[in-house]
């Protein structure tokens, strides 16, 4: 019943899109929720994230939330109301100093406090690159496990938003993926965001939680009110298929879901869609199992092609699944250009580019 409703809704929105300008380059696919985690309510992603932090602050008295302007909710409203509920000693604004924010968070975490830091945009996190790569990632290793900063979680909005231009649109996940010791997670919507953020906060390793900013308001799911977690390092197979595997994360998952629907309906191609969920450590097993079954694979991400995380996945697949492959592995990504202001719609790996790749690989 739910599926039918969703499908008819999808058709309606497709028809409407003929007359109106697209607000975004994808159609959001709400989660199919079981009642495994109890009572649910419709929430968007920023509300789900807010709830996760609310839960942590209420249950763990040794936890704090901080970042630029988070005291009154932050730019995307994720921390709304938290300062009123938990006091300004636990939810507070920092100066504009990203390197300081992360270093401070590492200090808090290593001294045993659950530290939830917000960097206002992922594009702003580069001043803190040293703290993340050289301090956070290596604390446990270099101290022979005497010390760690596993209680640190860094939340930051990433990816395209429709008009973000050079410094409010980037997807820098692969920069951090080169740092063993960190965990990197990207949710695809509200339901996943809440459970994954709770997992990240409680995981005994420093985590970077990239939140696709386009999803904050747009992604509305039935989100459980209770506390729940999802395993890190575990990919989700969202659609099972026979002919080709499509791998993505964050916003791009929704592009791929639509591609799978079109490929199936118009070309009779059966796509398997995987949301990688965790970039580091990534779920090689689920990916390899899928590719061994379908023999073809596309990895798609908004970040530029060269050095994107798709490269890592492609290299691993050829190693694990070489004899199963029916066609070359294809990456459908952003161009090797800075994230362009006026050309965003041309830059993004939209459904048509992905669909074209699907057709080419199936007919290879």
């Amino acid at each position: 019943m739910h599926a039918i409703n969703k499908y008819s809704l999808f058709n309606v929105s497709k028809k409407l899109c003929g007359c109106f300008k697209y607000a975004s380059h994808f159609v959001y696919h709400p989660e199919q929720i079981s009642n495994k985690f109890g009572k649910t309510n419709k929430k968007n992603m920023y509300q789900a994230i807010n709830e996760a932090m609310d839960l942590v602050l209420s249950k763990d008295s040794n936890s704090v939330v901080f970042g630029e302007d988070v005291g009154f909710g932050g730019v995307f409203r994720c921390t709304s109301g938290l300062r009123d509920r938990y006091g300004k000693d636990r939810v507070f604004n920092t100066p504009l100093c990203e390197q300081g924010i992360i270093g401070f968070g590492i200090g808090l975490a290593v001294a045993g406090t659950t530290a939830i830091a917000e960097i206002q945009f992922a594009d702003y996190m580069f001043p803190a690159f040293d703290q993340l790569v050289n301090e956070a990632a290596k604390y446990r290793y270099r101290s022979g496990n005497l010390f760690d900063c596993g209680k640190l979680t860094v939340r930051t909005p990433c990816s395209a938003v429709g008009h973000g231009a050079l410094y409010h649109s980037q997807s820098p996940e692969s920069f951090y993926a080169h740092s063993p010791g960190l965990k990197i997670v990207i949710p695809r919507g509200a339901h996943k965001a809440k459970g994954l953020l709770l997992s990240c906060i409680r995981d005994p390793n420093p985590c970077i939680f990239f939140e696709p900013k386009m999803m904050y308001r747009l992604a509305v799911d039935d989100v459980p009110d209770d506390d729940y977690e999802f395993p890190l390092g575990k990919a989700d197979v969202l659609i099972k298929g026979r002919d080709i595997t499509l791998i993505g994360w964050g916003t791009q998952v929704h592009v791929l879901l639509e591609v799978a629907e079109i490929a199936n309906k118009d070309f009779g191609i059966s796509c398997e869609v995987i949301d990688l969920v965790t970039i580091l450590p990534w779920d090689k097993q689920t990916v390899a199992n899928s590719v061994k079954k379908t023999g073809r694979v596309i990895v798609s991400h908004e970040a530029p092609l060269t050095g994107g995380f798709g490269a890592e996945i492609a290299a691993s697949i050829q190693e694990e699944c070489f004899l199963y492959l029916e066609s070359p592995i294809r990456r459908v990504t952003g161009y090797d250009t800075p994230f362009p202001h006026v050309f965003e719609q041309f830059y993004l790996p939209n459904k048509w580019k992905c669909l074209q790749a699907v057709k080419e690989l199936v007919n290879y």
Binding site: L96, Y124, P127, L166, R331, Y335, V342, Q356
Partner: protein
Amino acid sequence: MNGSSVLRKNSLKNVLSILESRLFSSASEATFETKPFKLHKLENGPNTNVTLSREDALKYYTQMQTIRRIETSAGNLYKEKIVRGFCHLYSGQEACAVGMKAVFRDTDSIITAYRAHGWTYLMGVDPFGVLAELTGRKGGNARGKGGSMHMYAKNFYGGNGIVGAQVPLGAGIAFAAKYNKTGGVCFTLYGDGASNQGQVFEAYNMSKLWNLPCVFVCENNGYGMGTSAERSSASITFYSRGDYIPGIWVDGMDVLAVREASRFAIDYCSSGKGPLVMETATYRYSGHSMSDPGTSYRTRDEIQEVRQTRDPITSFKEKIIGANLVNIDELKEIDKEVKAQIDDAVKKAKTDTEVPLADLAGDIYSKPLETTIRGVTPFKNLEHIRIGPAVNLN
């Protein structure tokens, strides 16, 4: 009955004041007293007794009004969704830029953060070039590729999107000036928010270590995004935060005070004494950016009070009329001209040609080894193009 007599009385008063100002506006020069400058590690500061010519009065007034108009139009275009992306307005801070620019020599340069529209205009780009950049059109200053925060001109090393990132660049630009013996000084601008970025202190150290001709200008508008200076900074005497670098505090709402302080700074830095920090105490009327209404962390009354008592344009206007340098009619005429000019620029910026798709792969490298840009199916044949030579090296 009563109302209309008041009206009549008022209009009579207006006529009289116009007549009066016409009759007596013959002064070619006037002197004013600025608020005292505060000094850090300096024996002497700028002169508080300043002279202003009639010609300069008209120029500064026009410039400040033009910036205010550009910003109002930019805000409106944003609300109409014609300008997308991020947009930070300079309204309220006009006296800072106009005061500094007033004493720039050909060799002096400037680099600023993301509140860059006014500076772009002052450094020689016409309002259309600014507004068309905002609307992402071909006639824009950066061909529509930069948007609000990324505009450039000769000696203007740009707006910069990352908080504080331009500050070390300013030190580098100053070093180049010293190395090449141009005699130039680099004005390196940042806000009270950015003043807490670590790289500001790294730049301070290098500049003093090597005695670079760099004026670090902290435009203190009271709020770093949504956090007031008091709540983000352990020390809010930004002019003294260079520690070993001397500093000046200046009333940033007074164009003449900023001008005098900048004149002093140029003399100081170009005489080989090294860098200087200059804090301009100012105020921004709008929110941090267009997504911030600017009223959740301060009261509407506060903004209203600044507008009424400290507005850089209104106070300058009163000052120059009071000193008989100009008359009200002349200023009204300027207002009218500025409005017409900006309205025209807005119209053109809305309808200018869009940037061609080929520009997506333009100017990524100077001379790329691979002439096509790696990308995705099916449009994989993007040719790398060189759109134009860089202006900074010419």
